[in-house]
Structure formats: C-alpha cells, structure tokens
C-alpha cells in the first residue's frame, strides 16, 4: 500500500473517532462563523462592494449604491498600474528565487553537513523574520543609496570604481531575496530532516559525487517543499509595503502596495480605485497561495513517511569552513551591517558622510536623536499602544485560533469545513488590503470601532489567524486522542477535558503561537496604516511618519529601539519557556 493511501485511511479512521460535539452542536459553529464573519467576510465584502461602486466610505450611507466596473476597467488601461504590477511580479519572482537559493543552502548546511557552529547558522537563517521590512528597507537605503550610501563611501575610500544602487528594482529584489529566505529555510529544513536518506545513500554507493547526489536526488525529492516555500515567500513579498516604499520611491518605481497607499494618500483619496487595486493584489496573492497549496499537497508523498529518520551528515572536509563562512557572511549582511548603519545614523548628528574619515570623527556623534525621539509624546504612546495591541491580539487571537483549530481538527461538528476555509482566507489578503477593507467596513459607523486600539488588534487577529492556526495545529496533531478519550471515560466534560488535558499539553505550542502573533503584530505596518488615529498610533506607523517627515536620525534611533525591544521580548519568552520545560 502506498504511503498516500495509508494516510488517507488513517485520516478516515481518525475522523470516525473524532469527538462528537454534544453540547450546543449548532450554536458553537454558528458562533465561530459569526466571529469570522465580522473579522473576515464583512470587511472583504465591503471592499469588493467599494471596488464596484463610486461611493465614498467616509460619507456613504446607501445600502446598495449603483454598481460599476469603471475602476476595474481603469486598472486595465492605466500605465502606472501596469508598471506597478510588472515591478511587483518581477521583484517578487526573482526575490523568491533568491530566497529559494539562500534558504535551501541554509537548510542543507544546517541539516545535512558537518559545518561547525550550526546553532549560530540556524539562528542566523531565522533572524530576518524579526526585522520589520520597513527597518530593513531603511537600513539598506542608508547602506546602498547611489550617492551617499555607506557602502559607496567605503568603496570610494578603497579607490574602487564600483558603485551599488539599492534605489532600484534590483536593490529591492536583493533585499526581498535575503530577508524572506527564512520562509524557504523553514520549509526545506523540515523536509530535509524528515527525508528518507536511503535514496541518497544508494546514489552515493553507485558512485555519484556529493554534488551529483544533491542535484539528482535531494533537490528533486524536495521539489514540492522548495516550491511551496518559494511561493510562500513570493506572496509575502507581494504584500510588503515598507521595503518598496523606501527603496522604490526615489527611483520612481511603483509597486502594487506603494501605488495602493498613494491612492489613499492623494487629495482627495481615491477609495474606490484603491479597492479595485486591492482586489488585484488579492487575486495575484490567491493564485500564489493556490499554487503553494498544490505544491504542499505533493510534499507529503515524499517526506512524511510515518517514521522519523536521522539524516546522514555529509562530511564536507575543509569545505565546511566555506559553508561556515557563507552562514557568517549572511549574518553579517542581513543583521550586522544594517544594524551598524542604523547605529551610526542614530548617533550621528547629520547623515552626510563626505569621506570615510568623517565616520570616525567623534564630534559628529551625540544622543540628540534619542532625546528628540523621546521628547515627542507620541513615542511613548506608540510604544504603549503597540504593547497593548500586540498583547490583546496575542491573547484573543491565540484563543480564537485554538478554538477554531480544535473544532476543525478534533470535533465532528457541522460546518467544520467552511469554518476552516474562511479562517484560511486571510492568507491571500495582504496586510495593506486588510487595512483598506477594515477602513471601508468600520469608518462610516459613528462611535464604532474605528480609531481605537481594538480595531488594530482585531485587524491583526484576522490577518494572522492562518499563521497562528498553523502554529497551533502542529501541536494539536501531536496529542493522541487516547488522552482525551481517557478524560471522557473518567467523566470529565468537554470544557474540563480541554482545560485539564488539551491546553496543558498544547501549552508550548500555544505560547509559541501567541508569541508569534505578538511579534507579528508589533512589526506589522500594512494593515495599521489606515486604521490608526493620533490616540491609537503604534510604533510601526510612527516610524514611517518619522521617515516620511525626513527625520532620518530619529527614524534610525526608533528602529534601533524597536529591534532591541523585539529582541528582548523574544529572548525573554524563549528563556521562560525553556525554564518551564
């Protein structure tokens, strides 16, 4: 019997044994659907309606205004939309390709080779996940701007005729490629860890070299995981605003996200056209997600075979120092160099570096930007708001994701499938589009949610629901049903079983899911750009305000502060969880 067939049977058997949800068999799924309706369906429906009408969401009170396809027709003929679509597709495709090369190499080094300091290399491979795209874009504008980028200053000082220009499509592609490699790394590393090494051994026994084995056996076997990771990186890049905003604007290179933002920043804002552009972004993203899901489906045929393997380590000999150097170089370019640039700018009075000597002139440095940063009353408010919004999103989003994941995976209630499907929909909606959809949905309701920290938390919960559910599902799957059944037999009710058995057992997964949600919320920019007011401003938006306001030094100081804060939070959580274990 093939692995696939045995999986199908096992899955059918599991469903047969699924816990029937006796109390409130209808009310519970309806309650979940109601929440998802408010979080996902209503805002998206308003957005679709907005793209098909001429009404202004600020003033519209009509239930069903006349419909028009004008905004979509305009998209088809508008040269800027065409340029933005081409730029987005080019930068994200080549960026994803670069991510695949980098991420795969990392996965191979970490899982299959005897490279020294693998722990450090593994951390290096994941570190970009915690650097907000805006901060990455900002740091690389300081390093790679064509006229005064620090890299160019150094190249000039060395007498070299080369010049780098990150204010370009190539620059954005490179930044995308290296900063989104962790997504490919995560997918391919776990595929490599779970792969049956016997085929590779057979290849080597037959006389193939390490390289030949890698090209002929390993990579083809991992193709679905590679494709899946690459497509995920592609759709995430497609929704990023910060990097193309900083590196693309000076080069007049529009992207779909920056174009969308400019439509709503114009006087007067073009809400309907923005809604149509949002739908275009959703369509492209959904296509990517669909392809990714298809690729992922194929993945189980080759990597998950029901038993675990200890992957054989390849002895690289002296080449292991080369792979170590690659890992360190990546760490240097992705983390060390950008943060060095941010630190220089944060402490430097004016960001004019005529020559390399000026970089080491102590008179040029002061704490002025940090003083200016904290003299602004919005700074402390934004920090406080970010922590509240992140905390609320983590707690309520974690609880909701747990409720949905548990219902879908462990019960046999009706409407499980639509609940699962709707909860996954936000994967295909870029953050900026969620923001526009929420603006459409809530702004016109006086005294309602708009302008509160709650709407930001709700938007983040909706946006990251699929990610949180995925993190939780993995731990739920690991708990054998026998434990729940034993609890039932002992006479404990469903809620008590969940509280006493399921939650404690899934706690590490729950904590890591909530931490993920907290971190993602703190660094999220796109979905908050249209939802904040002066009272509910959060750190990522204030950082953009500082940058747009030309306060480069203050922006750098704030970037350094935010990164330190994120590092501290992630460090503390992982230390606490380790202690608990």
């Amino acid at each position: 019997m093939s692995v696939a067939a045995s999986r199908i049977e096992a899955s059918a058997a599991a469903r047969g044994r699924a816990i029937s949800f006796r109390p409130l068999p209808w009310l519970w799924p309806l309650f979940l659907l109601l929440i998802l309706g408010v979080l996902v369906i209503y805002p998206v429906a308003r957005l679709v309606l907005g793209s098909l009408t001429d009404v202004n969401p600020m003033t519209a009170r009509e239930a069903l205004p006349p419909l028009t396809l004008e905004h979509y027709l305009d998209l088809a003929v508008n040269p800027t939309v065409r340029a933005a679509t081409v730029n987005s597709l080019l930068a994200c495709s080549f960026g994803a390709l670069l991510s695949v090369v980098t991420g795969l190499l990392f996965a191979w080094i970490v899982v299959r080779t005897n490279t020294p300091m693998k722990g450090l290399i593994r951390s290096a491979g994941l570190m970009p996940l915690f650097i907000p795209p805006l901060v990455a874009g900002f740091a690389w504008s300081l390093l790679g701007s064509p006229e005064t980028g620090l890299i160019n200053v150094v190249l000039q000082a060395m007498g070299l005729p080369w010049k780098v220009n990150f204010y370009s499509l190539t620059g954005i592609t490179v930044v995308f490629g290296v900063y989104y490699a962790p997504y490919v790394f995560m997918f391919t590393a776990s595929a490599l860890e779970n792969m049956d090494p016997s085929l590779e051994e057979a290849s080597e026994v037959s006389g193939s070299s390490v390289f030949q084995t890698m090209m002929r056996i390993t990579i083809p076997l991992m193709a679905p995981a590679i494709l899946s990771g690459g497509l995920l990186a592609f759709v995430i890049m497609l929704g990023v605003y910060g990097t193309p905003a900083i590196l693309g604007t000076p080069a007049n290179e529009p992207f779909l996200t920056t174009y969308l933002f400019s439509l709503l920043s114009w006087t007067p804002p073009l809400y309907n056209k923005a809604a149509a552009v949002s739908m275009l972004l959703v369509a492209v993203t959904a296509l990517g997600i669909w392809l990714q899901q298809r690729a992922l489906r194929g993945r189980s045929f080759v990597t998950v075979a029901g038993k675990s393997f200890r992957p054989k380590l390849i002895d690289l000999g002296r080449w292991r120092y080369f792979t170590l150097a690659f890992g360190l170089l990546y760490l240097f370019f992705v983390v060390v160099l950008p943060f060095a640039a941010l630190l220089i700018v944060a402490f430097r009075k004016y960001m004019f570096v005529p020559d390399i000597g000026s970089l080491f002139d102590a008179r040029q440095y002061s704490l002025g930007h940090f003083e200016a940063l904290f003299a602004n009353p919005l700074t402390m408010r934004s920090i406080w708001n970010s922590l509240i919004v992140g905390g609320a999103a983590a707690i309520f989003g974690g609880a909701l994701a747990f409720a949905i994941a548990y219902t879908v995976q462990r019960t046999s209630v009706r409407l499980r499938t639509p609940i699962d499907y709707i909860a996954t929909v936000p994967v295909a909606i870029p953050g900026l589009v969620i923001g526009v959809a929420y603006l459409w949905a809530w702004v016109g309701l006086p005294g309602g949610l708009y302008g509160t920290t709650a709407i930001l938390a709700i938007a983040f919960i909706a946006r990251f629901l699929p990610d949180t559910m995925k993190a939780l599902s993995t731990s739920l799957i690991q708990i054998h049903r026998e434990l729940e059944e034993a609890s039932w037999i002992c006479g404990l009710g469903l809620l008590t079983t969940i509280r006493k058995v399921v939650v404690p057992l899934t706690l590490p997964g729950l904590i890591s899911g909530m931490t993920l949600l907290f971190v993602l919320s703190i660094r999220e920019l796109g979905s908050s750009l249209f939802l904040y007011t002066s009272d509910s401003i959060i750190m990522s938006v204030l950082l953009l305000d500082f940058w747009e306001g030309g306060s480069i030094g203050v922006s750098a100081a704030f970037s350094v502060f935010q990164s330190a804060l994120l590092f501290l939070i992630i460090g503390s959580v992982s230390w606490l969880t380790r202690r608990k274990r």
Binding site: P146, T148, N252, V443, G447
Partner: protein, 337 residues
C-alpha cells in the same frame, strides 16, 4: 495679479526688524487653557518647525502641553476625513497648507477670530472667516555646500546641464505648497518649464522633510524647499546653503482654525491667539525661518538683501486649476495618474 502685488508690496513696505510687541493674553483664557493642560495640532508643516514654536509657546505658557500630529498635506486631509466620519476627530487646531481645499472643511471648525484680525490682508481673510494665516512660507532653493560649488541663482539656472539628474523635487499633488510651486513655474517661468524640468529627471520625494534629508545627505544636490526648512537646519550646522531665486519666490499661506469638537477649546484659542500675535509671528520668522503676512512682519534671515519677488497665487485659480493641472503635471513627469 493685482492681489499678488498688493500683498507683496504690503510685506516689502512694512518689512522691518523692529522689536515685536509682547503678546498679552486674557488671564481668564490662560487659566482655562492651563486647566485643560494640552492642545493637539494637526499640521502639514515641518515637525521640527512646529516643535520650535511649541517650545517658545511653552516658555510663556508652560501648563499647556502641545501635541503635534504631522503628516503630508494630502494625507493629513485624508486623516481628518476618516476621523471626522467616525466621530473621532482628536484635533484641537487643524492647519491646512492647501488654502483651496480649506474652504470645504469650514464645517468642521468653530467660529474664531484673533484680536488683531484687522492686521491680516483682507484677501487672505477671504479664504474663510474661521481660518487664519498661522504660518506662511516661501519656496526657495537649497543646495549641498560640499557638493555644489556654483549654486544656481534662479529657478531658470536649474536648466543648466550641471544639474542633470542632480535635483530633488516634490510632486505637484503632494500638498498645497508643492501645487503652488508647480503653478508658479508654469504661470511665471513659462508653459514649457515643467517639460524642461522633467528632462532633468529629478528624484521625487513625498514631502519637504525627506527632500531636506536628501540634500543634507547629498543624495541630491539642489532642491526646492521652504525657508523654514532650510534656515533652522543651517543654524544647526547642516552642510547646506540657501538661495532666494531672483525670478521669484512662490508663497504659501497656511491657514488654521479651531475644531468644532476640540477637546481643549481654550488651549486651542490661546495657542492661535499667541501664534497670530506679533510676538508669535516674529517667533515664526526669526526663530524658525518662516514668513508672515501680518502687517509689519519681518522677513527671514538673508532675505532683505536679496530684493525678494514674492509671488502669491490667486485663490480663485488655486482651486480652479488644481485638478486639471496636477493631472497634466503627473503626465509630464510620468508620475501616478
């Protein structure tokens, strides 16, 4: 044209550096404002300029904390729209750098007039009875002193080959000030001016502040900027120089009013009374490098000697031409359409 000459003549004739009269506030208003303790200002003006004004205001009235919400003109208006629609307008004072659009926001504002209302030109007062020229500024040229040895002397000089791909610019539709500049170029410098400039492939920045940062960093060599962006940075040691172009300085008058739903109406009133007073306007000019349309107001540092040709747009044309011309500008510069 009559209107433009009138204001220019008024400013030129009365430009003196006489000691500004000290602002005398109504003690009851000061007490009420101090009790409210804060005032929130929505502005498109440069953050640093507003912070300097706030600092000076606080030396006189330390109990009123000033919160500045700053965004580029168009974004600020979108923000005001969204907050007003949801009943969450947090502003006490709203400032519009786009006097053409200001009129349509009158309904959000409370009745207000400063004690010295008569000292402001009637043409500016005609924008709205609820809005007052809190600040004014002129667009001049800034250049990086380390990189530009022969700075331009006029807007026309920018057409020299020295400045190919070396200019920074701001899109016409970004806000009131940039629209004034675009209008000035076309009406005063000639119909072909936009096309000439477009061939230079200027680097576009979303607002003044990033332009200032770009010229200081040396990303671009020459940029158009407000006097109040350049002068404070120069005083602070930034490596830039200022040029008052011989062929004219396009002027923007930024008007402000008190929100009808202001959470701190007395503090808002006190702040506007102060900034619109002779003391407030002199602070704006002498400390922040701005300009004023108050009768008898002075000019910023270095401006007197230059024999300024101030250019004010006609308020009627400002509103009427805007959309059509901005669209044309976008086409010429291949900017968002």
């Amino acid at each position: 044209m009559k209107y433009q000459m009138l204001i220019s003549a008024l400013i030129a004739a009365l430009a003196t550096s006489a000691q500004a009269a000290e602002f005398k506030a109504d003690p009851a208003l000061v007490a009420a404002a101090s009790k409210e303790g804060a005032v929130t200002i929505y502005t498109a003006n440069q953050l640093e300029s507003e912070q300097q004004l706030a600092k000076r205001f606080n030396t006189r009235f330390p109990d009123v904390k000033i919160e500045i919400v700053r965004a580029p003109g168009s974004r600020l208006i979108a923000r005001v729209d969204a907050e007003a629609a949801s009943g969450k307008l947090a502003a006490d004072i709203i400032e519009f750098s786009d006097s053409g659009l200001a009129k349509s926001y009158e309904k959000l504002l409370a009745d207000y007039a400063p004690a010295n209302a008569g000292k402001y030109p009637a043409e500016i007062r005609a924008i709205s009875a609820k809005m007052w020229p809190k600040t004014a500024w002129g667009y001049v040229l800034a250049y990086n002193k380390a990189l530009v040895k022969n700075p331009p002397k006029s807007w026309a000089d920018l057409s020299k080959p020295d400045f190919d791909e070396k200019l920074g610019w701001i899109p016409a539709g970004a806000g009131g000030t940039s629209w004034t500049l675009a209008m000035f170029q076309r009406k005063v410098l000639g119909e072909s001016e936009w096309k000439n400039l477009a061939t230079k492939q200027p680097v576009m920045h979303p607002s003044d502040s990033p332009l200032l940062a770009a010229v200081i960093r040396g990303e671009v060599r020459v940029v158009p900027l407000k006097t109040n962006s350049i002068i404070p940075a120069m005083k602070d040691g930034a490596p830039i120089g200022i040029v008052y172009p011989a062929d004219g300085v396009p002027m923007t008058v930024s008007v402000a009013g008190i929100s009808a739903t202001a959470p701190h109406p007395n503090a808002a009133r006190l702040y506007l009374d102060w900034i619109l007073s002779e003391e407030g306007q002199e602070t704006w000019v002498n400390n922040s490098g701005g300009m004023t349309v108050l009768a008898g107001g002075s000019l910023p540092e270095g401006a007197e000697k230059a024999g300024l040709k101030l250019w004010f747009p006609s308020i009627k044309e400002y509103a009427e031409l805007r959309n059509g011309w901005v669209n044309e500008w976008n086409t010429v510069f291949n900017y968002r359409q």
